[in-house]
């Protein structure tokens, strides 16, 4: 029943993550695998522990047990900054843009470029021109259309603001971009634009994790779908190989994970196969 994809490079991986808050078990041996250059959707019922998993991957939460590996190397992120320095950028559900700043300032916030020479070192002067040029180029590469790179974010639509947030993550994320419900607050047309943008981010060579509640959206954009249930990974499927009802059924426990064709990679896949064989 299972179809395993061998030989894909795994960028970000988690093995057996656990985390409890008092009696509440948020992660109960959660596994996770993100392959190079793919869009992986993470779905799960409310309270399944999706956000705990993501927070552990981005350094916002320190797991009680288990391991996180980046490109095969074990990593221990103590803060989101650690994860960011390692090349993992996150776009949070709450719009992380400063509306009174312009697009360039938002793209470079916290990582501003200074002018070379004395102007930069002694007078701490920003290299606004270089930042604008690079920002404009980056926005063009991602196909994001705005009137001017000097526009205040205040003047942008919700979709454009989200695009700025995604562009920022794509600009700094060297390996992985994680998006937490990036279209939750958007209309139909704007959702389309943001999904298109996410595809282009992948096509630039990054790996993307998208957390979403919208099944049609997940089926449209994801290369693979990670289904989370009761604090751990139930299985991973390929949108072409299953239908939405199957995914919802596994999410809610109406169907066992073994009943749908899996798209796991490597040893994790083998383990599921053993389990499936054992049944």
């Amino acid at each position: 029943m299972s179809s395993i994809i061998p030989g894909r490079t795994i960028v970000l991986e988690a093995r057996g993550l656990t985390k409890s808050y008092g009696h509440v078990v948020a992660m109960d041996g959660a596994d996770f695998q993100l392959a190079e250059n793919e869009i992986l959707a993470v779905v799960g019922d409310n309270g399944a522990g999706k956000s705990s998993l993501i927070r552990a991957l981005t350094g916002a939460v320190t797991p009680d047990g288990g391991q996180v590996l980046l490109e095969g190397q074990p990593v221990k992120f103590k803060s989101p900054l650690d994860a960011r320095l390692a090349g993992i950028e996150t776009v949070y559900q709450e719009l992380a843009v400063a509306t009174e700043l312009d697009i360039t300032q938002n793209l470079y916030l916290g990582r501003e470029l200074r002018k070379p020479g004395l102007l930069g070192t002694v007078f701490r002067q920003l290299d606004k021109r270089r930042m604008r040029e690079q920002a404009a180029q980056h926005m063009r590469d991602l196909g994001i259309r705005v009137q001017s790179i000097r526009q205040k974010v205040d003047t942008l639509s919700g979709g454009q603001r989200q695009a700025v947030a995604v562009a920022r993550a794509a600009a700094w994320g060297r390996k992985v971009v994680i998006l937490d419900e990036p279209t939750a607050a958007l209309g139909v047309r704007e959702t389309r634009q943001v999904l298109e943008l996410i595809r282009r981010v992948r096509d630039q060579g990054l790996s993307v994790v998208i957390i979403s509640h919208s099944m049609p959206e997940v089926f449209e954009i994801a290369d693979r779908i990670h289904i989370h249930r009761l604090g751990k990974r139930a299985t991973v499927v390929r949108p072409g190989a299953v239908d939405m009802n199957d995914v919802v059924a596994v999410m809610t426990g109406a169907k066992p994970p073994e009943a749908v064709p899996s798209a796991l990679i490597g040893p994790g896949a083998a383990r599921v196969q053993q389990l499936a064989g054992g049944l």
Binding site: P80, L81, R84, T90, Y92, E94, L95, A96, V97, A98, T99, E100, L101, Q105, Y108, L109, G110, R111, E112, R114, F123, R124, Q125, L126, K128, R129, R132, E133, A136, S148, I149, R150, D154, R168
Partner: protein, 330 residues
């Protein structure tokens, strides 16, 4: 690319007009000109070289103090203690200068101002208490502290250096004092820091969207603390300006300076919600506050009515700010 198209647009008169009105200081500047024209037409003494010189001299203390207040308001804070901190600085300088050691007096004055302002900043950022209440408490405490320190007495200032800011740098039909030049220089330096450095961008960012700034890796508390401490330096300079205006270190002077600075900042186009505005606007705002007081004096109106006018002015400015912010959000 964006730069060239912007330059092309700016060449047409309509675009120039648009560029002017979209500047945040356009409103304050128009208001300043309108009030000045009004007093020039209604009084015979307002538009005289002597009075214009006096206007600027009257503005330097509130103007310099308001530069610090602008920083605090840009990070969505407020400093009700700014005047009290400044006054404490002047009495410390006055008492120590009486012994003849001017350098020590200045150093201690600076230390006291930066220390008190940093204490504000520390309580607000580390204990996460509301700036309004913290600085209100600091305001009354420091005011009483300054009186206790001096036994409610004033110190006359005899040092030329301590009063140099009140003396003219150029004389002509218009008298330009060193204090005015210092006020202008401080405004330029602070404007540079806010507009041309990463620190400045972050000041606006943490005032506008602290969560977004934090998520983007900005150390919000550290930047906020730096703002309060830096404001203390401006309070110190304002104290020096005050000694130049009147060579007496008086613990009960400038009791309402905090309201004047808030008026100057808000009227100058900075938002009390933080993240919007700047020090050039505050420069103009301080002039508006003083022009209003001066003009009402020239028109022979009682100083109690002037206080009423200032009170109304600050409420109007805050109301306009609220209205604009609400309109923006919806």
């Amino acid at each position: 690319m964006a730069g060239t198209s912007g330059a092309r647009q700016a060449s047409s008169p309509r675009a120039l007009a648009f560029a002017f009105f979209s500047q945040p200081m356009a409103g304050p500047l128009i208001a300043l000109v309108a009030i000045s024209v009004f007093f020039s037409l209604t009084t015979s003494t307002f538009l005289t070289p002597r009075n214009i010189s006096l206007l600027f001299q009257q503005s330097v203390v509130i103007g310099t103090l308001a530069l610090g207040q602008t920083l605090v308001i840009l990070v969505a804070g407020i400093d009700l203690a700014c005047g009290a901190i400044m006054v404490l600085g002047t009495v410390v300088i006055g008492s120590l200068a009486a012994d003849g050691n001017i350098a020590l007096a200045m150093a201690m004055g600076l230390l006291v101002c930066v220390g008190a302002a940093s204490l504000n900043g520390g309580i607000i950022t580390l204990l996460r208490l509301p700036p309004f209440i913290v600085t209100l408490g600091m305001f009354t405490a420091l005011q009483a502290g300054a009186r206790l320190y001096t036994n409610s007495q004033s110190y006359p200032i005899r040092s030329d250096f301590l009063t140099v800011l009140g003396s003219p740098a150029f004389s002509g039909p218009l008298t330009v004092t060193w204090g005015m030049l210092l006020w202008i220089a401080l405004t330029i330096v602070l404007s540079y820091a806010l507009n041309q450095t990463a620190w400045g961008v972050r000041v606006y960012a943490i005032g506008n969207a602290p969560n977004a700034a934090r998520l983007n890796g900005v150390n919000v508390r550290r930047v906020a603390f730096s703002v309060y401490s830096l404001a203390g330096i401006f309070y110190f300079f304002a104290g020096w300006q005050a000694l130049g205006r009147t060579p007496i270190a008086d613990p009960s002077a400038y009791q309402l300076a905090n309201l004047d600075t808030i008026t100057a900042v808000v009227i100058g186009g900075s938002s009390l919600f933080g993240g919007r505005g700047g020090v050039v606007g505050t420069f103009i705002g301080a002039l508006i506050v003083i022009v209003l007081k001066n003009g009402l004096t020239q028109a022979g109106i009682d100083s109690l009515y002037q206080q009423i006018a200032t009170g109304i002015l600050v409420i109007l400015a805050v109301a306009a700010d609220q209205y604009m912010s609400r309109a923006k959000r919806s």
